[in-house]
């Protein structure tokens, strides 16, 4: 690997350096746009005591849910969880610490982490359990609470296409939290469906500039659908 070529050849290499008790920020919404192979690699690796930052925690046998049976996750910041039984059991028993975070606040905390903004004010959560222990403040007669930025030791991201320099393009709503996650990792690892040569992606159409990306790997994806809803043709 020389210059700006971010491509690595194995998932093991992609997550080299991920250790117990680290913080991992993950892209994805539900099962859409999740870095499914990177998650599977964390399971294989057996890393424990992780703090995970992700909008959701997958389902029983897919996505971040696969890290639950071996208690690899110690703490999770998410906006919506409990799509699986083991999650609920661990949360109720206190084995898993869950910090429920409003979805927009979660997205903004990741963005702030990547953007060198240590904290920001938001009306979201004012007067609710989310505000507990947080500074409250009025601006122009409206109430806000102070929310702090999040950064991770690792960020794991799923994109559609990338060039070797790590410039990323996302596809449809699989974009979701991935661009913010990419900015907030000390080491950002991205898996994609296709890797092209630098220069093949139009500069105006790149969603995430390669400067945020440390490692890049091509994967194959199951892309499981959570709620298959159709209309008759």
């Amino acid at each position: 690997m020389a210059g700006f070529d971010k491509v690595v050849s194995s998932y093991e290499e992609a997550l080299a350096g991920l250790e117990d008790n680290m913080t991992v920020i993950a892209g994805g919404f539900g099962l859409c746009g999740i870095p499914e192979n990177l998650i599977a690699e964390i399971k294989r690796k057996g890393t424990k005591g992780l703090t995970v930052v992700s909008n959701n925690c997958g389902v029983d046998d897919f996505g971040l849910g696969v890290l639950l049976p071996n208690r690899q996750i110690k703490k999770i910041l998410a906006s919506y969880v409990g799509e699986n039984a083991e999650f609920e059991r661990q949360m109720m028993s206190g084995e898993l610490e869950v910090i429920l975070t409003p979805q927009g606040t979660l997205a903004e905390k990741m963005r702030a982490g990547g953007a060198g903004i240590p904290a920001f004010y938001t009306a979201t959560g004012y007067g609710t359990p989310v505000a507990e222990g947080k500074e409250e403040r009025e601006f122009d007669g409206r109430h806000y609470i102070l929310e702090k930025a999040i950064t991770g030791d690792f960020a794991i991201v799923k994109a559609w296409k990338a060039d070797r320099y790590g410039n990323l393009v996302f596809r449809k709503t699989a974009r979701n939290f991935n661009p913010m996650a990419a900015t907030a990792g000390k080491i950002t690892v991205v898996e994609v469906e296709e890797i092209v040569e630098p220069g093949e992606l139009a500069p105006d159409e790149i969603h995430t500039p390669g400067i945020y990306v440390n490692r890049l790997i091509k994967g194959t994806f199951e892309k499981r659908i959570e709620q298959r809803t159709i209309r008759s043709a």
Binding site: F29, G30, L31, C32, G33, N55, A78, S79, Y80, V81, G82, E83, M91, V98, L100, P102, Q103, G104, T105, L106, A107, E108, M110, R111, T122, A123, T124, G125, Y126, G127, T128, P129, V130, H143, W160, F170, R171, K172, T173, A174, R175, N176, F177, N178, P179, M180, H207, K223, R224, I225, E226, Q227, R228, T229, I230, R231, S232, A233
Partner: protein, 219 residues
């Protein structure tokens, strides 16, 4: 008679205006999309990063990369745009969405809303609901007026953990259309065949009843 889920959605749809950007929550709010008046265009915002949500896909169109905030497979409508979650909530928090419709467990006379958690029972999280109620200036809450056991959901003070404080001013239940101001509920319309007395009996918070309370009309 109490409104059906469809009728609640239908009545909410009367609040739409041409050119509105609208966020519809899961459940009854989703049904509102079925009752957009003819000749009127609205665009649906889905907080996972889609403005211009279309109908459900056919079997052939189904795409794992294109879902709505309820995680259902969807399509894009003409003129749709897709963006990341930070941008989506910038849009919501910044007050750019014209109307938000969402369900609730309880509302109270101060405009508080509880909709995301029943301690010890339902702890799945608030998703985008706290951002939606904090960001929108125009919110309609849809819910049944009372629980199955006849307990009012329109209270003097919410008993469940709040989703938002002082942010609700319109509630559409199966019995009535109610506005919230000056720390009181105000009865605006009643469901066809439902008496003011029935509504009063099932409203725990202070209810202001004007002389004339028209029945809702449906076309």
């Amino acid at each position: 008679m109490a409104l059906s889920r469809e009728q609640i959605a239908q009545r909410v749809a009367q609040e739409l205006q041409d050119g509105f950007y609208v966020n519809l929550g899961i459940g009854i709010p989703t049904l509102v999309a079925n009752y957009v008046p003819d000749g009127m265009e609205v665009m649906l915002q889905s907080e996972n990063g889609l403005l211009g949500m279309g109908q459900f896909p056919t079997e052939d169109e189904i795409d794992a990369d294109l879902i709505n905030a309820g995680k259902q497979t969807v399509t894009t409508a003409k003129g749709a745009s897709i963006f990341d979650s930070a941008e989506s909530f910038a849009m919501i928090r910044g007050g750019h969405v014209d109307l938000t419709v969402l369900g609730a467990f309880e509302v109270d006379v101060q405009g508080n809303i509880a909709s995301y958690m029943i301690p010890g029972k339902l702890i799945k999280g608030m998703g985008g609901a706290m951002d939606l109620v904090a960001g929108a200036e125009n919110i309609i809450v849809t819910m049944t007026h009372a629980s199955k056991h006849g307990e009012s959901k329109l209270l003097s003070q919410c008993t469940l953990p709040l989703t938002g404080k002082g942010c609700i001013n319109k509630v559409l239940t199966d019995l009535a259309f109610i506005e919230i101001k000056d720390n009181r509920f105000h009865l605006v319309e009643r469901a066809p065949g439902v008496s003011v007395e029935e509504i009063k009996a099932l409203t725990a918070g202070e209810l202001v009843i004007p002389e004339n309370v028209p029945e809702m009309t449906f076309i």
